[in-house]
């Protein structure tokens, strides 16, 4: 296996492991996957999943199950920034369709795709729990609310591609 979890990632995972009983390392699988995904280009290849399984002494399939269940884990290569647009009820009523349409045109990709320069991946999100600021989107770990095409333009400009 080529991939080894780095020292700093291991330290972060270990902090999570302290929160659970020693024989229940499985509890740390979500944070561990999140840490490894963040430090390795925003997506998880099989070797990353296997490394997490080894590190937590879990059967590999147990990690595959979790990684494939949550849409927050990407199992295929993604762009530098992940844009999650909420299309759930509140955002839809507040015009998320316009937002999605604008983003698709602006980036030249469809929902679920990545721009050719590898900068952005566009993803549909279920409720981001930001109904008060609908329509909303999340880029990487930041929320952006009350979106309009102009606002999106400045946000994207601020990300420097």
């Amino acid at each position: 296996m080529g991939f080894v979890i780095s020292q700093s990632e291991q330290e972060e995972i270990d902090r999570w492991l302290l929160k659970y009983p020693p024989h229940q390392k499985q509890s740390a699988v979500l944070p561990a996957l999140k840490i490894v995904q963040e430090k390795n280009g925003g997506w998880l290849a099989t070797e990353h999943l296997d490394a997490v399984a080894d590190y937590l002494s879990l059967p590999k399939i147990a990690v595959y199950e979790v990684a494939s269940f949550y849409s927050l884990f990407d199992l295929k290569p993604v762009g530098k920034h992940k844009i999650y647009v909420c299309t759930n009820v509140s955002c839809m009523l507040a015009g998320s369709e316009t937002i999605v349409g604008y983003l698709e045109r602006r980036l030249g990709i469809k929902m679920g795709e990545t721009t050719q320069d590898g900068c952005f991946t566009l993803k549909e999100a279920e409720c981001l729990a930001a109904c008060g600021g609908a329509p909303a989107m999340q880029i990487d770990n930041t929320y952006y609310e009350n979106l309009t095409p102009e606002k999106i333009e400045s946000i994207l400009a601020g990300l420097n591609g």
Binding site: T46, P59, I61, A62, Y64, E65, S68, F69, Y70, S71
Partner: protein, 804 residues
């Protein structure tokens, strides 16, 4: 106990009993998919919903314990409505391909849809489909049919001890599978075929071979290990179509190993021997039974007259039936042949001269095994040798038993092992002596074991051995000690047995043997031993040679009974090949031809394979388990006991008196019941025999061999699906990295292994940390592996890579 009502009738059950358990006990039908009595509860399919008074919603019977005064209705309008709705949901995505589905006719979904489903589907949307992954040669997947009951997933975690299948994805996209395309490798994986309530997981070798309702079912006993699992053989028009487990909670519960399930494929091998054959001018000529039997007897008699009773060696399969074993030794001894043995893997018999050998039973019942507190396994890898013993051990480990292994190499266990002692050079004796020594020096010293001290004067216990002694020596604990196949095949087998006996005596433990074949106990009971007759009676005269000596110095003639292939089955395959090819006469009683047998045999007599003959196996618990034939033998093959009966009659014996095989069994039973009990010489006396071994040097490189799971007998070796699994090892000499570097050997190299004057062979190398130092680990009984001699000291050299 609580009292409650089901369908307006009063019942009572212990506190905590689930509604579905009471219903099953009382034969009240409740539909279910995810519930299985041997697996954990998940209550995910919701098919078992029942109405419970005062509950606002119907409750799952599989996850609701009964309570005092509870009123349950399983067929009320509320319950039926809930069951019907769940069934409608389950059928939404289920394809209607029953006509081409192997599960059809024995499908829980089909049966329950008939009972609880609606007659018309209201679902008009598209059904989902799932791409199938190839998970190996044993299990066929059609995951579009899966209803997500997760029985197979729980089986992996809870029974097989390795999670290979899982539920990936979410919601509509959830799939049961391996996620990546990879094989399912558990040695008991086939059980998911029975567990799967639909046709998602079916038997690959049985795929489209027949319909469940066309098959005939005959109860039988599994023929590959000493567990004696109960099975059903399913036949169609006289041909075995599949083998499935038969529930017997005290033995195999509801499981069987893949070896017992899929070995039947070997019955249809093109190698089947269909007619008696005699070699004339180096050509095999078909003949009839009369001529073949007469030729056999005349040839043997001629050799016996010329060369005496010790000139013929008889090797009997440890999986031959009790009746075959008894009649074989009776016929052979009647002819004056005394060299009879079934212990094919064994190479050290120094104990034999010290009195009768003990009957190789488990020493306790399988159900007791899982309740043991401490279990010591010596030279044993039950996962491949007796998969269902491994399951009992896993259960014991889950209940908190301390399981200790003393093995020649490290294995992957699927349960928690308290300690694993893997001595250098495969020298299993030394850790045992270390443990014995530590036990003796414990505070609770016992004066009647004082005689042991001089034998241990050179022994120093390691901390690990002291810890094991600590576990074994605690009072009031149930301790079980086992000698596994590798202890019995070991070059110190006799010494290991004696030290194990001493340990068992000291710890008041049971001592058991995990033997080769399905009927080692039966072979012992029938007297298929060179120095013991039926019932284990020691023969004062007319002792013969043991299996190892029979081939070590070639004899003029051999009798091979029950598909024995000495080139694979014996401890020393090099000596076996030489002895057989140099001998003047070999008669093989076997279901199979092919292989080396064609070269060395002079007569091949076709006998029935295990589903084709009635008979009895005695399992390791000492249980006599008789079974009937499920299908007729092919061609002119006859059940082995009938052939032996005819031979005895031809020799003038009373063989023709038996009209049924039961009479043979009952005659033996009568003998066994009237055998006086034997007292062995004291342990102290027997220990003197191993004194020279104790002072042997433990240094030096040694070859350790092991029979892989699917190479143990002639039937398994011919089962293609089993041979195609990942468990079929490559022919490699495995070495520890340290040992390898000592001889400047690397992973890609080839290695020359030699024992002066005995054998020499060249093998590709695999470097493996699981092999202890000074050990060369090699799988036995592989095709083309015939150049390997017996276990023990060897010299190795780096072979140049020219021909790699």
């Amino acid at each position: 106990m609580v009292n409650f009502e089901i369908n307006d009738k009063q019942y009572s059950a212990p506190d905590g009993t689930l509604i579905i358990q009471v219903a099953d006990r009382e034969h009240i039908a409740i539909p279910r998919f995810c519930y299985h009595p041997k697996l954990s509860i998940v209550a995910s399919c919701r098919m078992c919903l029942v109405e419970v008074a005062k509950s606002p919603k119907p409750l799952p019977a599989c996850a609701t314990p009964v309570a005092e005064g509870m009123k349950i209705w399983t067929h009320s309008p509320c319950a039926c409505d809930a069951q019907k709705s769940v069934m409608e949901f389950l059928l939404i995505n289920h394809p209607l391909d029953c006509p081409i589905c192997d599960q059809g006719g024995e499908c829980e979904l089909q049966d329950q849809a008939l009972e609880y489903g609606k007659d018309v589907s209201r679902f008009t949307e598209g059904k989902r489909s799932v791409k199938d992954l190839d998970i190996g040669p044993l299990i066929k997947t059609d995951m579009t049919r899966c209803i997500h009951c997760t029985r197979c997933v729980r089986f992996g975690t809870e029974i097989a001890g390795m999670r290979e299948l899982g539920a990936t994805g979410r919601g509509e996209h959830m799939e049961i599978g391996t996620f990546l395309e990879q094989t399912v490798d558990s040695e008991v994986s086939g059980n998911v075929i029975d567990l799967c309530p639909v046709g998602a997981l079916t038997s690959k070798p049985f795929h489209h071979k027949g319909r469940a309702w066309e098959l005939q079912q005959v109860a039988s006993i599994a023929p590959h290990d000493c567990v004696g699992s109960h099975v059903y053989v399913h036949t169609l028009r006289g041909e075995v179509m599949r083998v499935v487990p038969r529930q017997e909670d005290s033995i195999n519960e509801v499981w069987i190993s893949d070896r017992d399930r899929f070995s039947y494929s070997g019955l249809k091998s093109p190698d089947r021997l269909l007619k008696p054959l005699i070699k004339k001018n180096n050509e095999w000529v078909e003949t009839d039974w009369d001529l073949a039997l007469q030729f056999t007897i005349k040839s043997l008699q001629a050799i016996l007259e010329k060369e005496g009773g010790r000139s013929v060696g008889a090797l009997v399969s440890p999986s031959a039936t009790l009746e075959e074993c008894y009649l074989a030794q009776k016929w052979l001894r009647g002819m004056g042949i005394s060299s009879i043995d079934h212990r094919l893997h064994r190479m050290d018999f120094s104990c034999d001269s010290g009195g009768p050998s003990p009957c190789p039973t488990f020493g306790l019942a399988l159900t007791e095994l899982e309740n043991a507190d401490t279990i010591l396994l010596i030279g044993s890898h039950p996962r491949t040798e007796q998969p269902l013993i491994n399951h009992r051990l896993a259960k014991a480990a889950r209940k908190g038993a301390q399981i200790i292994m003393v093995n020649p190499i490290q294995y992957d266990f699927n349960f928690k092992v308290a300690a694993e002692l893997t001595p250098s050079g495969g020298q299993l004796l030394h850790p045992l002596l270390g443990i014995m020594n530590a036990l003796l020096s414990q505070k609770n010293e016992r004066p009647h074991f004082a005689w042991l001290t001089p034998f241990l004067k050179n022994t120093v216990s390691t901390p690990e051995e002291k810890q094991v002694a600590e576990w074994l020596g605690r009072g009031n604990k149930k301790v079980a000690i086992f000698l596994g196949l590798q202890a019995q095949a070991h070059w110190h087998a006799s010494a290991l047995q004696l030290v194990a006996e001493a340990l068992a005596l000291f710890c008041q433990a049971s001592l058991g043997y995990l033997t080769e074949g399905a009927n080692s106990v039966g072979a012992w009971v029938s007297g298929v031993l060179p120095d013991q007759g039926p019932g284990g009676i020691s023969l004062s005269e007319g002792k013969g040679l043991n299996a190892h000596s029979m081939v070590k110095t070639p004899l003029p003639a051999y009798v091979l009974f029950g598909g024995v292939e000495p080139e694979f089955d014996l401890a020393n395959t090099v000596a076996a090949r030489r002895a057989l090819s140099e001998s003047a006469f070999v008669v093989a009683f076997s279901p199979f031809r092919g292989g080396m047998c064609e070269q060395y045999a002079k007569v091949m007599l076709p006998i029935a394979a295990y589903t084709e003959t009635e008979g009895t196996f005695i399992n390791g618990e000492g249980r006599w388990q008789s079974f009937n034939a499920a299908n007729p033998p092919p061609g002119e093959a006859r059940p082995g006991w009938e052939v032996l009966r005819a031979l005895t009659a031809l020799c003038g014996g009373p063989g023709s008196l038996y009209s049924r095989s039961e009479e043979v069994r009952d005659e033996l039973k009568h003998i066994v019941q009237n055998v006086p009990s034997v007292t062995l010489p004291s342990l102290e006396q027997r220990f003197r025999r191993i004194e020279p071994i104790l002072s042997e040097s433990k240094e030096g490189l040694r070859v350790v061999t092991e029979w892989p799971i699917y190479r143990v007998d002639s039937l398994v070796r011919r089962s293609k699906p089993l041979q195609d699994t990942a468990a079929s090892p490559l022919f490699r000499a495995r070495l520890n990295p340290k040992t390898a570097s000592l001889y400047s050997i690397k992973g890609e190299n080839k290695m020359r292994i030699r024992r002066e004057g005995e054998f020499e062979c060249i093998l590709p190398v695999a470097v493996d940390k699981k092999i202890p130092e000074n050990t060369v680990h090699i799988a036995s009984a592989l095709e083309g592996g015939g150049n390997m001699g017996q276990q023990g000291a060897v010299q190795v050299f780096l072979e140049s890579n020219k021909d790699a």
